[in-house]
């Protein structure tokens, strides 16, 4: 049997939530201290001006109410007849031979599966809620210790206090997983998702993770307050795809951070298609010499959607490279805000950092704000950035129409071509196809 607590993130709801979980002491203590911080920290529009408040400058959440959403109560796993949490199927895993899959519904874990051969080699994959009880000492060193700071702001504190329906991948030293692993979180109308993804690759390990979210009702309200923690060990290789495809009534707040070790490689691709309002901090820290991170972003907005992404490429060690490419297309009255920073520490000589954000404005009243930035303390580095915003070229539309395409087909083709530069970077064919199809379906005809 499953249930949710009374609506509202109240002290009573939190105590009920905590009592239902039977977790190790260290985790309960972490939740309690984070809950205290959540109660004490101000909402962005109530906080005193500070550099951190700059993140919220273009994102108005005065209409967001904590008291409209429930905390999950973890009395049992969410039920599902077919292993998937809702009638809404995932997009990314179609036709793939998966090494494992894990699902969650309304922040409660559903059934998870992992190739037994990988489990025998020490790979951990599945529900973080379950595995933190059976493998607590192995997980404790990574959970909210090195990547995500629970005290960063009110939402990170709330997440650390109430995360539930989390998922974990732990790949031991030297283990290479050839097939992708799939994580899928779904949400019912009016519910909350406090999912936490923890991905740890030890030295020399390799894996591909496809993570995605979806709502069972395209327009219903909901809350996602989540986090992603990624630790890529020395010489390890991780390809991580994260598709946010919530319904248009969902508030999406997320902190996502990856630490990339010596000579390790991370390819991190985000797709942002859904939500009513999204505020995401996506940080990559290059913490080992020779580390490399490639960050790709695909965004498509419509209606009154507001997506606000804040990226940080933090070069902490020498000889690291980072390359960020975000591309967004906007329809209706939607808005995308991107603030990107390349930060180079004093010791991070021979850094090569790049960031670029391109936006295609498909309607008269959509708006894109691109704010790249550099903060460099070393004196022997190569860092650059660029940003563009523009409309579809009418001459290109005319050219395509002159060859028999309708205006809508022409625009769809041009939008697809706009994203192709990012798609070309994605090695997993099903992901390329899924993102391309999802965007193609959303393109409307406009004047």
């Amino acid at each position: 049997m499953t249930q949710t607590t009374a609506i509202g993130l109240t002290q009573d709801a939190f105590e009920t939530f905590l009592a239902s979980r039977l977790e190790p002491r260290w985790l309960t203590d972490l939740r309690r201290s984070s809950w205290k911080a959540f109660q004490e920290l101000p909402l962005p529009h109530d906080a005193s001006p500070s550099p951190k408040q700059e993140e919220w400058r273009r994102t108005d959440i005065r209409r967001f109410r904590f008291d409209k959403f429930p905390l999950p109560s973890h009395t049992a796993h969410a039920s599902s007849s077919n292993g998937q949490p809702t009638a809404v199927g995932p997009l990314l895993a179609a036709g793939l031979d998966l090494a494992g899959s894990a699902y969650a519904l309304d922040s409660r874990p559903c059934k998870a599966r992992l190739d037994p051969a990988l489990a025998a080699r020490g790979v951990l994959f599945g529900s973080l809620d379950d595995l933190v009880q059976s493998h607590g000492p192995a997980i404790e060193p990574y959970l909210f210790t090195r990547a995500i700071d629970p005290l960063y702001d009110k939402f990170s504190a709330l997440h650390a206090a109430c995360w539930s329906g989390g998922m974990i991948l732990f790949v031991p030293k030297g283990v290479v997983i050839d097939q992708p692993l799939h994580m899928f979180s779904a949400m019912s109308p009016g519910q909350s998702d406090f999912g936490h993804a923890l991905i740890v690759l030890e030295e020399g390990a390799e894996a591909t993770v496809l993570a995605e979210t979806a709502s069972s009702d395209h327009a219903a309200a909901g809350l996602h307050c989540g986090a992603v923690e990624i630790l890529v060990g020395p010489g390890a290789r991780l390809r991580y795809v994260n598709l946010q495809n919530w319904g248009s009534g969902v508030w999406h707040f997320a902190h996502q951070k990856a630490l990339v070790g010596r000579d390790a490689k991370l390819q991190w691709t985000i797709g942002a298609l859904g939500s009513r309002l999204a505020k995401v901090n996506q940080h990559v820290a290059l913490v080992g010499e020779g580390a490399h991170a490639q960050v790709n972003g695909v965004m498509f907005t419509d209606g009154t959607q507001h997506l606000s992404y804040h990226t940080l490429q933090h070069h902490e060690m020498p000889n690291c490279t980072s390359n960020l490419l975000y591309k967004g297309a906007l329809q209706g009255d939607s808005r995308i805000v991107w603030r990107g920073m390349i930060k180079v520490d004093r010791d991070a000589q021979k850094t090569d950092g790049y960031q670029r954000d391109d936006n295609l404005i498909l309607s008269e009243s959509a708006r894109a704000d691109s704010i790249p930035g550099l903060e460099i303390e070393a004196d022997d580095v190569k860092c650059s950035h660029g940003a563009t915003a523009g409309r579809v070229d009418d001459e290109q539309v005319f050219y395509a129409q002159a060859r028999g395409l309708t205006r809508k087909e022409a625009i769809r083709m041009i939008v697809s071509g706009f994203f192709q530069q990012v798609f070309d970077r994605i090695a997993v064919e099903s992901v390329r196809d899924a993102l391309g199809d999802a965007i193609g379906r959303r393109v409307r005809e406009y004047d």
């Binding site: 273009r58 108005d60 209409r63 009255d333 008269e364 009243s365």
Partner: protein
Amino acid sequence: MTDVDFERVCGVGDLPDPGKQVFELGERYVVVFHVAGSFYAIDDVCTHDGGPLGEGFLEGFTIACPRHGAKFDIRDGRVLCMPAVCGTPSHEVKVENGEVFVKIIERPKKKYVWG
């Protein structure tokens, strides 16, 4: 247009003259002004940077955004001064029996032109 669309925001005496206050109406925040004996309402959004006009400096019929100083005419939302380049939506206001009512007017967003 029906009276049903008007929503009460405050009493006439609740807002000094000159004065302003922000109200939540439906899906938006609106600043209601009381200037020279009349009431006006515009969106609480500067079209330049999304700044909160309700926290701005009111002088005559002009409100200045507290962030970068863009100015708007409170009577019709017209933009008067850079760095904003398009107006902010204005809404209908009526006063009846000592109460102030606002009706949200949904208009297509203006193109980025002066006026």
